[in-house]
């Protein structure tokens, strides 16, 4: 959770940060402890919000292709934290979205493959403009 490590910079923007995962509250609690996250983590077992956010389900190559595997390895080495056991729908991708108080979405980055994630710097730049 690179974004969580940028917590101070995020708090300075005044924006709220909401983490949503696709499993049960018990899994969410375990994830928080494992990642040392003190934010609430919401549990969307039915993936209702994923569908409403337009998140996609990956093909096999978008999930396990060479490009995805290489980026995943680099990411694990950088964070020094290997990926844990997959909980929920294994091919469900995620993403990030900014919502203004009027309900408009000025910026979003929904993943096109398993290695496609917005960087904390991109998200910070986007929230500062929202």
């Amino acid at each position: 959770m690179q974004l969580h490590r940028e917590r101070q910079a995020l708090e300075e923007t005044g924006a709220g940060l909401v983490l949503i995962g696709q499993a049960t509250p018990r899994h969410a609690a375990h994830f928080r402890r494992r990642q040392d996250i003190d934010l609430p983590v919401l549990a969307d077992e039915k993936r209702e919000s994923y569908k409403a956010a337009g998140a996609k389900v990956a093909t096999l190559s978008e999930l396990l292709g060479p490009k995805v595997a290489a980026k995943g390895l680099v990411s694990s080495l950088r964070s020094r934290q290997p990926q844990g056991r997959t909980i929920g729908h294994p091919a469900q991708l995620g993403g990030t979205m900014i919502v203004r108080p009027d309900g408009s979405v000025p910026w979003s980055h929904m993943s096109e493959d398993a290695s496609d994630n917005a960087s904390p710097a991109e998200i910070l730049a986007a929230i500062r403009e929202a």
Binding site: L3, G14, A15, G16, L17, V18, L19, I20, G21, Q22, A23, P25, R26, H27, A28, A29, F31, R32, P40, V41, L42, A43, D44, E48, S49, A52, A53, G54, A55, K56, V57, A58, T59, L60, E62, L63, Q83, G84, T86, I87, G88, P90, A91, Q92, L93, G94, G95, T96, M97, I98, V99, P101, G103, S104, V105, M110, S111, E112, I123, I127
Partner: protein, 55 residues
């Protein structure tokens, strides 16, 4: 649908221009307390992150 639930054909992410539908959804947190997503951006912008997995 392919193996391990993968899509058989490539899809495209299609985020909405407005979050009204998302805002009406209620989800439990890690303690089982229900939260309406729209409450998170009532007063200031919010960043919503959908995790691929709890890994």
């Amino acid at each position: 649908m392919g193996i391990i639930g993968t899509a058989s054909e490539r899809q495209h992410a299609h985020p909405p221009e407005r979050a009204d539908e998302i805002g009406a959804i209620e989800l439990p947190d890690q303690d089982g307390v229900q939260h309406r997503l729209g409450d998170y951006w009532k007063e200031s912008p919010a960043i919503l992150v959908w995790l691929r997995h709890y890994g």
